[in-house]
Symmetry: C2
Subunit: 186 residues, 2 copies
């Protein structure tokens, strides 16, 4: 087995979700996940701190991505439009992972500890996005409020996407939620 | 000891927070809390399901209060103004509890399990507020987005209130955050 596994992280995530669905989260061990992915336990722990983290790999990547998108958005955009642009990019990135995300969501929702960790991750995400707005030169309060709006819109759109029939794409759902938010604020 | 203790709930909450600060959350037992409050363990469990819940009594009261405020707000108010009015009422209700809330916040932040439970409570709060907007006749998406905005604004304002010097009142902080939210569009 090569020390370099460019797609190791994704293979481990998929193996973990498969096993959690087949035999339950509590009953699954890290060695089983590694074996299913054709990798070693050691490789697993190079990518994830513990068994739960395999479920949160994509969310961990979201935080720096969104923060970067905020910081890089043209200064001429209003904070709201910067949010809209960043969320659209993230939504397009997530859209192809629909089936994986549905199953992952089911696993997370079925376990109290996992649901709580998901909520904590979202709080950490809001902190990252706040920093992104501060880098754009927004004052602290505007940055906090903008980050709260962005994570709120993203969170509820993902929820609708994963609980729906899949007929509406995530970018569309995000766009509709942003339109509703605009309506509320104006 | 009387079976009827009109302020039993509040006494138990204060006793719990005192003991958590003095000797730590893990080291405190329900019988100790009840004793400090001058009540029985049985009375404790009439009010709270477990040791953690003593910290979340006020949040549990917020959900039906805000949902009721939304549902009762004059139909002529825009959703945003209904949010502003409800949050102002809640903020004024919380303001006199500042010292208690600061200590409670410190206890919650120091414990992973408690922080996670707090985040879950806020998610449940958003669901209640969504219902409040639906009762007002808003469509489902607008209700979801409005609830997300309301809980976001309230959450970040409480955070600033409790982490600040106490010189700014919660109603003022909420008002400023609402103004910042409106300003995101420009």
């Amino acid at each position: 087995m090569s020390r370099w596994e460019p797609d190791a992280r994704e293979r481990l995530e998929r193996a973990a979700v498969e096993l959690f669905v087949e035999q339950g989260f509590a009953e699954t061990t890290v060695p089983q996940i590694a074996e299913r992915a054709g990798l070693t336990t050691r490789t697993y722990f190079r990518h994830f701190a513990d068994k739960r983290e395999a479920l949160f790999g994509s969310e961990d990547e979201l935080a720096p991505m969104i923060a970067g998108l905020m910081a890089d958005a043209p200064a001429s955009l209003s904070p709201f439009d910067a949010i809209a642009q960043a969320l659209n990019t993230v939504a397009s990135r997530l859209q192809p992972q629909y089936e994986f995300m549905v199953v992952r969501h089911r696993v997370v929702q079925a376990d109290d500890g996992l649901r709580e960790r998901e909520l904590r991750k979202r709080a950490a995400l809001a902190a990252e996005i706040t920093k992104g707005f501060q880098v754009r030169g927004e004052d602290d309060l505007t940055s906090l409020v903008a980050a709260s709006l962005a994570t709120g819109i993203m969170g509820l759109s993902i929820e609708r996407w994963l609980n729906g029939s899949g007929s509406e794409s995530l970018p569309d759902l995000v766009r509709h939620a942003l339109t509703a938010a605009r309506g509320l604020l104006s």
